[in-house]
Symmetry: C4
Subunit: 203 residues, 4 copies
């Protein structure tokens, strides 16, 4: 079974995405504190936000594949499709940071987040189809309320960003918080089944 290499390749791509964004945090030209101007802080905030998103995706990806028992061609391509959208995050981050969170870049960032969330749910659906409705994987994912709520909030956020960028950003941040705050019930249920290492479920 090729699960190991699929995870290793995804880890590699996610590790690179999360790190190359730093190359785009261009440097102050001068050598004084005053050279750390507004643009640099704007880029740093955009970077921190994207770091958290990629972290959430890595986390969810990790838990999703942890429950997987097999890999087929459809899953491989659904996984690459997700990585494609995530690979555009550095670009959207840079545009947003450089323009001090202007309307168009914030909307474009939301489009990227929404497409990534859709790609994740396609991956989840592909994996459930490949494992069967009665598989442990299907049960571990359940109805995936979090995933559906996230997509709705991204859509609302990118719509709002057209009018006021900060409203869009507020929506995106709420989604991040939903995933960052641990889901105690899931942790407990998994702990009961003797799997202390898996405390989140797929997005």
């Amino acid at each position: 079974m090729g699960k190991g290499r699929l995870e290793a390749f995804s880890d590699g791509v996610l590790a690179i995405i999360i790190t190359i964004m730093v190359l785009e945090l261009k440097l102050p030209a001068g050598e004084h504190w005053s050279d750390l101007n507004y643009t640099i802080w704007s880029r740093l905030i955009a970077y921190a936000l994207s770091f958290i998103y990629i972290g959430i995706y890595w986390n969810n990806h990790h838990h999703l594949w942890h429950a997987a028992e097999r890999v087929n061609g459809a899953m491989l391509w659904a996984n690459l499709h997700l990585l494609f959208w995530l690979s555009l995050v550095p670009l959207a981050t840079e545009w947003m940071g450089n323009t001090h969170f202007a309307a168009a870049p914030v909307t474009a960032y939301g489009v990227m987040l929404l497409m990534s969330a859709i790609a994740f749910s396609i991956l989840v659906a592909t994996m459930i189809r490949g494992h069967g409705r009665d598989s442990m994987l299907a049960k571990a994912i359940g109805t995936d309320v979090k995933g559906k709520v996230s997509m709705g909030l991204y859509a609302l956020g990118l719509g709002a960003a057209f009018i006021r960028p900060w409203i869009g950003l507020t929506f995106y941040t709420i989604v991040a918080l939903i995933w960052l705050i641990p889901d105690r019930r899931v942790e407990k249920r998994l702990a009961e089944h003797g799997k202390p290492g898996t405390q989140h479920h797929g997005s």
Copy 2:
């Protein structure tokens, strides 16, 4: 047996190739939708095409080595030779995207694809030699019709690109589709042998 490290190293190189192309998708200078001009879309399309090619190679590489039972010096170097040609994909992609798919860059892109396909078939031949004609690996690969057809189409495509770039691109796209559309017979035969995780065979 060093198969694990060879796979890990190849995964690393392929993950980096697929991701650094994003660094070359230079950003719009302004903050408006109108700043997403034709050049940016041209670069994005070239990026998506190359992402799919690297994805196909990763997929085929994965299945080829999955069937391997040993590694020797010749296989190591045949593998590095393949990675060398694939490492030039970001360069050809950037040139093609920046020039809005002009004749010379599209031809150069085809040369790169053809060289990668030749390198892959050298790797396959080296591995069959190292495992023997009667090995499971040799049987899994079979006559490799897809690989030979691909090389022919690349050669036709790069020739045609000299005259009309879009004809060349059509040929390249046909090769990508040949590999993306799953080969039902292979999947079925492998499933009969109880290996649900391997549903493609080497290029």
Copy 3:
């Protein structure tokens, strides 16, 4: 247990951080030895210093997780938090190198080192909480004198850098030396317990 993938992802991020700094060692414009001017040497020295720091963190991270028996959500995020601060090292390095170790960049570099050290001790505390006070991991870490001394020296160093950059750098270098010089007693105690591969303990 997801320990394997967490280590692989962290290895990937640390490997990229340590290597992309090279991209920022911009080249001499000319082709003569005299083109290797003071700025290039300044960047090289900053690079070598950061290479050693990332090496120390990789080393400590390696030994910390080697002793871990489980992973939970809090540990995953504490780990990502550490990687976030370490991912800013290339930026601080570049600023310091380009400005020939001016006061503000040297202080900023110290802030980054201090934040990374704090993030490491948060990770250690999270892991001790997750494993229990009587776990092997808690015993292996002990009172973590080195970690506390390091944080103190970083704080002193970044304060001093405000006045004289070279005093700050001296403090930072002392911390690096503390970690580079092997701790014979720890090596001996671990050797007694039959674990020859682990000769450092967590920072």
Copy 4:
């Protein structure tokens, strides 16, 4: 034993080094074949040469650690020391390529190769000390004639490059060929010991 993570981290660093060199192969400005000028070919040749060197180091590193049975702090740092010198290869490659193989860059490239070779032999010595003179590792490495000859040729080459760059390059190429041409006796002896996967020995 931490051998697995050390190999994974080294693979990551080597994979990044070998791939980021492509980012420095700057593109032709125009869209015609004539825009592939002499500088671009010069950079491509330098890239191919460095790709082969990193490939050789990965190969030797792979076989050296394959024979290792344990890891200690000294080996970890000797390994990082080797990676430090190899991480400077992209820089030397770029300088050499941009200047059409001028005297100073070719000499600098030789210094880098020599320092890497010295770092490799320090790593080998550290590993033999850690495993004992009678260990399988020490026997597998033997007298390391190839490694010593390489260092001598690098030293001669960088001396000669001061006068005529092409003489230096000839020496460097001879070293590459020494490592590329398989050593039949070693392959045979290892095959007799039933280890078909290891057909080179450490540099």
